[in-house]
């Protein structure tokens, strides 16, 4: 035991002080550390459980079944199409919300972002009432064009776009709003029309947010369940996306459900990795 407080060399004293400061600087107070650890466990344990219970040996066989691949293909197709639709109309909407000035703008903003907080099932019901065969709009689609949306692949895309578009709109609107207007003024003084400015300057400057918003939108569309099953039903090959297939399989064959979930988990991880590597680290606003 050497507890004596003999003379300590100055360098040694400095070293100890620095080490102590470093320790105290890093210390997390326990009232924060304990709940934080609980949160981590809460978020990770279910994922771990899924990996533990995955039927690794029969995984290849399960995934090789036609229905799984079909559901995956349909999911990817519909999520991508829904994202494309959201992009084409959502980016202009975001610009209008960020830049236009007219009465009722804030009300409009609240209304169009409502699907963010609306339970998706309610969205599905609303879509049915609008575009169903007897719906407000759907009636005429059927009457004039003989065309019905519900329970079709197109219906899946509509349901997903309805739920996911606000994610893109909100992300991109924030980017438009925080963009330095000076660049647009500079473009105007160089003879660029407002639309040219939008195309060549504004869009380019919010590029990272366009990607982030699209990825968020796509991920939300991929996981969409409530509105899809309500509006488009659950027909394998036509409207049965991965989440619906997982839910259905859970009733009959849990191993299949786990395998499908694993695939979705992998997709989610891939999306996160893409966002992180390409955009998040560069300090862009999500």
């Amino acid at each position: 035991m050497t507890t004596g407080r003999g003379p300590v060399a100055p360098e040694e004293r400095r070293r100890r002080r620095v080490a102590r400061e470093r320790r105290t600087g890093r210390a997390v107070p326990w009232p924060l550390a304990v709940p934080a650890a609980l949160a981590v466990l809460f978020l990770l344990v279910p994922l771990g459980a899924m990996l533990l219970r995955t039927p690794w040996t029969s995984l290849a066989r399960i995934l090789d079944e036609g229905t799984v691949l079909e559901a995956l293909r349909l999911s990817l197709l519909c999520a991508t199409a829904a994202t494309a639709v959201s992009f084409v109309v959502g980016v202009p909407l975001a610009w209008v919300l960020a830049r236009a000035r007219f009465r009722g703008l804030s009300l409009l903003r609240a209304l169009v972002t409502l699907p963010l907080v609306l339970p998706p099932v309610v969205g599905g019901v609303a879509l049915l009432l609008a575009f169903g065969r007897l719906g407000v709009v759907g009636r005429y689609l059927d009457l004039w064009f003989g065309f019905t949306l519900p329970f079709t692949t197109l219906g899946v895309i509509v349901a997903e776009a309805f739920v996911a578009m606000p994610f893109l709109v909100v992300t991109v609107e924030g980017a438009f709003r925080s963009l330095d207007r000076g660049y647009e003024e500079a473009a105007a003084t160089l003879g660029a029309s407002r639309f040219t400015t939008f195309r060549r300057v504004t869009l380019a400057l919010v590029g990272p947010s366009l990607v982030a918003g699209s990825v968020l939108c796509w991920a939300r569309a991929l996981g969409e369940f409530g509105a899809t099953i309500t509006f488009a039903g659950n027909f394998p090959g036509r409207t049965q996306t991965m989440p619906l297939a997982v839910y259905l399989a859970m009733e009959s064959d849990p191993d299949v459900a786990i395998a499908l979930s694993l695939v979705l988990l992998l997709v989610a991880v891939a999306v996160l990795a893409l966002l992180r590597d390409r955009w998040l680290r560069t300090g862009s606003t999500l």
Partner: protein, 363 residues
């Protein structure tokens, strides 16, 4: 192409009003000086078409750009006006070449054509080596040249510069100032340079317009504004003796074009091959004496005659006819002690360390 600019108008913004009448001839550089909040930026924004006049009109040659009473307003994208912003506002997602090519491209030229048009200005402003760089990879002085090239590539009939040197550090400022002066001299149309730096204004501008609180308090050549400042602010701001001359690099002595010699301190950059320099001397740095100075450490001593006296708040500005002519600021008490009046013979003295020489131009 060479049309003069005339402004006669007013801009009202919340709690602030700018009103101004001015004309700028083709090839003339008007320096707009004023403190923060004087309305300098408002003026540039109105000229550029980013802000409409509340009353009055802006005319460029025969073209009416803004006429509040007849509801005429040409927006920025349709005005033949180039502007170099204080923060340059180079498009961060485009390289130097495409930044310069932006204006031709916006007017509908194809990518190749607009790049060809840009190339002329890229070469002219010595940017060829930087053509593929992004703005984030440029130094302040380089970015300033790109901003100027980009504005000029639009082939403007009127050129505006907002605090062109403010974003630069002191060292680069000198270099850029002299090259900028050259480029402004090459521009055929009217130029308006906004600045709060009197030296910058005096070096760059042919004529000064001083704004205070949204009003023009004085207009005139830099020399006349410095000699007869209309307000105390102008006096403090523009109080500067500025001489052009040729430097003898061995002795450090500058032979002035207008007669006389001064021993000056050289800024690090100031050793131009052709010896052309500008010498700046603050009126407060010169002392006035009524007897010859026999024993003095002052390197610059010269004789003259008082040509005018002007009271400026707590000080008196003395105009001295001499070689070189000078304006000198003294206290009211000193005026009484020296019993100066028009026609008094005086000796002026200034330390070499307060007499600063800058290179005149880049070329």
């Amino acid at each position: 192409m060479t049309a003069s600019l005339s402004v006669d108008g007013r801009v009202d913004r919340s709690g602030f009003s700018l009103s101004l009448t001015a004309t700028v001839a083709p090839g003339e550089v008007l320096g707009v000086l004023g403190p923060n909040g004087a309305g300098k930026s408002t003026l540039l924004r109105a000229l550029a078409g980013l802000l409409p006049l509340t009353a009055g009109s802006i005319r460029l040659g025969k073209t009416l750009l803004d006429d509040a009473s007849n509801d005429i307003w040409v927006p920025a994208e349709q005005r033949p006006v180039g502007i170099v912003f204080q923060d340059y506002r180079l498009f961060p997602h485009l390289d130097v070449r495409d930044n310069v090519a932006f204006a031709p491209r916006s007017r509908g030229a194809g990518r190749a054509d607009s790049r060809r048009a840009a190339q002329h200005w890229v070469d002219r402003l010595d940017l060829a080596d930087l053509a593929t760089r992004r703005p984030s990879q440029l130094s302040g002085g380089q970015a300033q040249r790109v901003a100027l090239a980009r504005a000029l590539a639009a082939d403007p009939a009127l050129l505006l510069l907002d605090e062109p040197l403010a974003a630069l550090d002191a060292r680069t400022r000198l270099d850029v100032r002299s090259t900028l002066r050259q480029h402004l001299a090459d521009f055929a149309g009217p130029v308006v340079v906004v600045t709060h730096d009197p030296l910058e204004a005096m070096v760059l501008a042919d004529r000064l317009l001083v704004l205070e609180g949204g009003r023009v308090v004085q207009q005139g050549t830099p020399a006349s504004v410095a000699r007869h400042p209309a307000t105390d602010y102008v006096a403090r701001l523009v109080g500067l003796n500025l001489y052009a001359g040729r430097l003898d690099s061995l002795s450090g002595e500058v032979t002035l074009d207008g007669g006389g010699r001064l021993v000056a301190t050289l800024t690090p950059e100031a050793n131009p091959a052709d010896g052309r320099v500008l010498v700046a001397l603050s009126p407060a740095a010169i002392s006035v004496h009524i007897t010859p100075l026999d024993h003095t450490s002052m390197r610059n001593v010269w004789r003259g005659r008082v040509a005018g006296l002007e009271l400026l708040g707590d000080r008196v500005r003395v105009e001295v006819e001499a070689e070189p002519a000078a304006i000198v600021d003294i206290t009211a008490a000193a005026l009484t002690d020296l019993a100066l009046e028009r026609g008094s013979d005086v000796w002026l003295a200034a330390k070499a360390t307060e007499t600063v020489a800058y290179p005149e131009t880049g070329g």
